[in-house]
Structure formats: structure tokens, C-alpha cells
Amino acid sequence: MVGIVIVTHSPKTAEGICEMAVQMARPGQKIIPAGGTADRRIGTDAAKIGEAIAAADEGDGVVVMVDLGSAVLSAETALEFVDPELRARTAIADAPVVEGAISAVVQASLGGSLNEVLTTAESARNLRKK
């Protein structure tokens, strides 16, 4: 299954999103939080994100969900340091982090490919609330 990594500024946000997403996931689905800094302050940490990407990968690839701007910068920086083969099968989703994470997890648990999971996550941009 494609693994999912959740990158948010607050460590609690990432953990909370993972808790929500697990409810929709098949057993064994990797959903790894990588929120906050190493000492659990608000922020993002490329090293932590890189480790989460490695931990989420089972060979089928990883989709990374991000919240605000600097989470994107840290996730892209993290990709520079992961193994090139893993980097080639990792994608950062351009999607709202909560809705995107739920959509991605459902698609990943259905056995979707990296591209399918990414597309599904990104189509969460169009989910209406009213």
C-alpha cells in the first residue's frame, strides 16, 4: 500500500489527522505524523519529515500531505536527502491537509497506485462543505 505522511506545524494537528484517517484505513496502512519540530514546538523539521517518509514506504511509494507554506518548503528539502529511489516514488500533494489525508488514505487502502492516491488527495480540493 502507498504510505501517507502528514506534515503540519503543530505536532498535535498531524497526530490528530492520523487518528482520524486510521479509522478509514485498512489494517497495516502506514499513516505517519511528522508535525512540529524535534522538540515538539510549532514548526516543521525536514529531518523528521525525511524519517517519516522512509518509515511510510513499503515499496509502493509515499504521498506527503502538508499544511501551510513552510511545511511545503521543509517537505521539499526533506526529499533532497532521502534515498533517490524513494524520492522518485514520493509525491507532495497540493491539497487541503485534512480532507486530502482522508481521501488519500481511503484510496491507498483500496490498493491504489501512487498516482491514483496523489490524484485522489488533490481532488479533495474540490470537496464542498455547503
Binding site: 501551510l68 513552510s70 518548503l73 521539499e76 528539502t77
Partner: protein, 214 residues
């Protein structure tokens, strides 16, 4: 013998510590009030990491150490941005034992391009680039005119200072301040300010140590 590159970075770190509150106050106006805290946390970690290097560490090693430490300790957008700048400069420094004018220009250029590549910003978006890019251009022009390197750094600082003033006149379209839209007008950008502080610290350092260049 102290390592001149390490000493130069330490001088930058001290300047960040002196300006911690100033940078944080600027970020309070148009951001999340942490830029000074972020920079100081990063450079304090850097000081620890540099202290563990062998005294003969070359420029590339020093720059790479700074890069990796900033990337993993700063926490804010400035971490991956300055981290990437130092990382790209480290790649240029690889194998170089002394820094002449041409090398200094390529180090500076690689750093600025690293920030552009990482943040996908261009000049005029109210970011550190509004200080750094004109500073680079002034520096390169000075080297082109065969001016001594400290004088080129002086030109870079003056250009960065004008860049800070310019950021007051524009609306942020990149980074956290862009959430404020028009309300970011009139405020100077914290990242542009820390870029100036960095260059100024380097300039002061070079003037204290003539004939050496970091």
C-alpha cells in the same frame, strides 16, 4: 589557530542573538512573531555543531554543517530557505582552499539561487530575496570592478538595506505574511532584515580581520 570560516559564522550567530527581539517584533507585525527566535535557535545549534568540527575543516564542510543544522533546527520557513542557501554555497565551495573574488561571487549566486529555487519567490514579493538579490548584484558588480572584497561586501550591505526599505512599500505575496494581503503594506520584511544582518555581520567580521575572507 581558530578556523576563520567558523569564526565568521559565529560572528553571524552573535549578530542574530543581538537582533533576536528586533527580528521577532518585525515578525509579530506581519507573521507569527518567531523569526528572531528561529534564527537564534538555528545559529545556537550551529555553534554547537561547528565546535565539534576539526580545526582544519574547510569552507565546504563548514557551510554544509551550517546548512544541515539550520534545516533541522530553525522550524520556520527561514530554515529550509537559509539552509538551502548554505547547502548550494557548500557545493560551490567543494575543493576550494581559498576564496577569491570570482569564487565569492559564485558562492553568493548559488546561495541566492538556492533560496529562489526552494521558495519559488521572485523579487518584489516581500521576502528575503528583496534584500539578497540586489545585494548579490551589487557585490558582483564590485568584484567586476576589481574592488577589494570587503568593499564589495559594503556595497552588498548598502543594497540590502535599500532592499529592506523597499519591502515596506510592497504587499507580501509569498510566505506567511501573504495571508495579511494589503495589511502587510508599510511593514518591513523580517527575512529581508535578517539577510541584511547576516551580510553586515560578515562585513564587520572581514573589517576586523583584514586580508582574510569568509
Amino acid at each position: 589557530m581558530t578556523n576563520v570560516y567558523v569564526a565568521a559564522i559565529e560572528a553571524i550567530g552573535e549578530a542574530m542573538i543581538r537582533n533576536k527581539e528586533y527580528l521577532t517584533d518585525l515578525d509579530a507585525a506581519i507573521g507569527d512573531a518567531d523569526h528572531g527566535i528561529n534564527m537564534v535557535r538555528g545559529f545556537e545549534a550551529v555553534r554547537g555543531k561547528l565546535g565539534a568540527l576539526p580545526p582544519e575543516a574547510d569552507l565546504a564542510t563548514v557551510l554544509k554543517t551550517v546548512a544541515m543544522t539550520l534545516i533541522s533546527t530553525v522550524g520556520g520557513a527561514s530554515g529550509p530557505l537559509y539552509g538551502t542557501a548554505f547547502l548550494r554555497a557548500a557545493a560551490v565551495a567543494q575543493g576550494k582552499s581559498a576564496v577569491d573574488g570570482a569564487t565569492a561571487v559564485s558562492l553568493f549566486m548559488a546561495a541566492v539561487n538556492g533560496i529562489k529555487e526552494r521558495g519559488k519567490a521572485t523579487r518584489g514579493e516581500k521576502t528575503m530575496l528583496d534584500a539578497l538579490e540586489p545585494a548579490y548584484e551589487a557585490f558582483a558588480a564590485g568584484v567586476g570592478d576589481n574592488k577589494p572584497l570587503p568593499d564589495c561586501l559594503e556595497l552588498a550591505c548598502a543594497a540590502a538595506e535599500r532592499g529592506i526599505e523597499y519591502t515596506k512599500t510592497i504587499v507580501a505575496t509569498k510566505g506567511r505574511a501573504s495571508y495579511l494581503g494589503e495589511r502587510s503594506l508599510g511593514h518591513q520584511d523580517p527575512g529581508a532584515t535578517s539577510s541584511y544582518i547576516l551580510l553586515k555581520a560578515l562585513n564587520d567580521f572581514c573589517r576586523r580581520r583584514p586580508a582574510e575572507e569568509a
